[in-house]
Amino acid sequence: MDGPKTASTWRRVPVIAAASIAGLLLVAILVTVHNEQAYRADKQSEAQAQAQVVAASVTAALAFDDRAAANEYLSALRANGQVEAAAVYDALGGLAASYSRDRSATFPKTAPDPKASRREPYLLVVAPVVQASTKLGTVYLRTEAEPFARRAVRYGWVALLALMGSVVAGVLAAAHATVGRANVELETRAADLHEIATRQRAILNSAMDAIVTLDPDGRIEMVNRAGERMFGYRLEEIVGENVERILDLGPDGEGGLIRRLATSREALVAGVAKELTARRADGGQFPVDLALGAMELQDGLHMVAMIRDISDRKRTERLKDEFVSTVSHELRTPLTSIAGSLGLLAGGAAGKLPPKGRRLIEIAHGNCRRLVRLINDILDIEKIESGQLSLRMASVGTAELVARSVEDLRGYADQLGVKMLLVVEAEDALVWGDPDRIVQVVTNLLSNALKFSPPHGVVQVVLASHAGLVRLTVRDHGPGIPEEFRGRIFSKFAQADSTDTRRIGGTGLGLAISKEIVDRHGGRLWFESEVGLGAAFHVDLPLAGVMPARSRPDDPVPASVSRRKAQA
């Protein structure tokens, strides 16, 4: 009951018609031949009977050689309109009497041979005039025969009528069958379409997101129920309106929809997602996630827009930000007093302490600082996981950043009795990055190296550039990284073993954060290590250029920033 079948039914019609016509023609020819034979036989016998009647009626006249009577008998033939001419010959073949319907016929003096008139448009019959076994003469009767051509034309008409009748009947029958089938198909198809439409409507209307379809000019074609609720319009109020009535496409009021959405036809076909501001009928605005898909139709590129109200998500994000910020502030405030007091005590600001008291203050101070680092790291991890780690990119000199990190950690290194050896081979190498975050990475790697170095050990820091990369290497000569720990060294809260935490005092977050920062710079953080011989961590960053010598910034100030530094 589908399309191709209907088409093939119609394609068979000419074949059926041709076969029918050929059959009909054959029948017509046979019927014509048969009819012709019957017609001739009929005419012949009819004329023969007439001739015998004439022969009987003229017998006496001929016996008495009464020619006038014979002529009178022949004249009676006028009653039969088909007899064209008639003649009576005596036994010697002389013309005894004659009749002509229109008086124009001529008769031979002797009896003609009837066989010679076969193809004439008339029939010639002969009847002997016999009395008591004696042949007195012959009657010739010529009757009009309708020409075959005329009869053939008549047959033709009949055949044609029959043909037309049968063709009409055939076509009607075929058409009826096809139309019947087509009707069934149409009904089935209409039912299918109705079902599809019902399904689609149900799906569209049960969606939580607004679904809007747009024509190539950006006019709204359809809005589902969620869309009506979201934007505060009824379907009939918004259909045909420009999509800008409900969505802020961007500041640019010019250009086609695709350009306004800062996308391309290709991207649309693949699917585009955007965050935009939407507008309700009452003028209220709210943030939305927009997913766009393309619908290539005959009149151009239509679009399907799925719109999700993300007000709640935004509110939650804001609340979480505020919470994290508040917690960090609330934790830092008491820590500032504690760390400050301990720092002053440990630094001798309150006078000289007894050795045990001094040691205890140092322990408290060290752990206080660790707590501060932990808070910072947790904030960073939280930012990374929520995708909010924002980088303030600038063209920065790596040598300066590395020097700043080395300076920052000098106190710590002195405390551990470890030497730092800085080798800068790429003094003017610039990278495109966030200086604070790069310092964070270098500081993290350096403090790890210092932590794991044996007493009086040396940590090498090498800054080199080659093949479009700046490579910073921090190498220590500590115990190295155990084989089984290498796979998860960049995971959160990763520590080689549980005793490490206490002995080394890290948060287990530093490398995870550093890796994320380096990744976000388009770089690579990796390591080489041999157990017992130490470890080398490498940071590869794409080279941005070479810094002009005179604009190199001055020495950094740790733990604070100044306006001038930030602008440099």
Binding site: S325, T333, L335, A339, G340, V372, S390, R392, R563, R564
Partner: protein, 130 residues
């Protein structure tokens, strides 16, 4: 060491105390404190004393650090007094936001008490040079 008068503004009394001790490790520094933005503005009404630098906590109730700075800029004698923010919000983007408000520097909390004075002097020296 040049003489430096500092107004330290913070709503946390413990931190104020630690900060005063820390700053006064530098014999050239003289510190006065205020417990709120409003108290700081009151203290500046006193014409007999003018600080060379104001250290302002950022998160304070009622009138916060940035609010205090804005009001301060409308007091003619102190409109140009350098302000250094001191904040427990250590994130880099927060620091740049504060600098953009017109501060000459930002110090993170917890600060290193033994070097707080040095940090402050370095920021001021840096600012004078620019």
């Amino acid at each position: 060491m040049t003489q430096l008068s500092v107004l330290y503004v913070d709503d946390e009394p413990d931190i104020r105390e630690v900060a005063v001790i820390s700053l006064e490790l530098d014999p050239g520094i003289e510190v006065r404190t205020a417990a709120s933005g409003a108290a700081a503005l009151d203290a500046l009404e006193d014409r007999s004393w003018a600080p060379a630098v104001i250290l302002l906590d950022v998160m304070m109730p009622v009138l916060d650090g940035p609010g205090t700075l804005a009001r301060l800029r409308q007091l003619p004698p102190h409109a140009a007094t350098p302000v250094v923010f001191i904040t427990a919000r250590a994130q880099a983007h927060e620091q740049s936001r504060l600098l953009a408000l017109g501060a000459v520097g930002v110090i993170s909390k917890p600060f290193d008490p033994m070097s707080l004075a040095t940090q402050l002097r370095a920021i001021l020296a840096d600012d004078r040079r620019s």
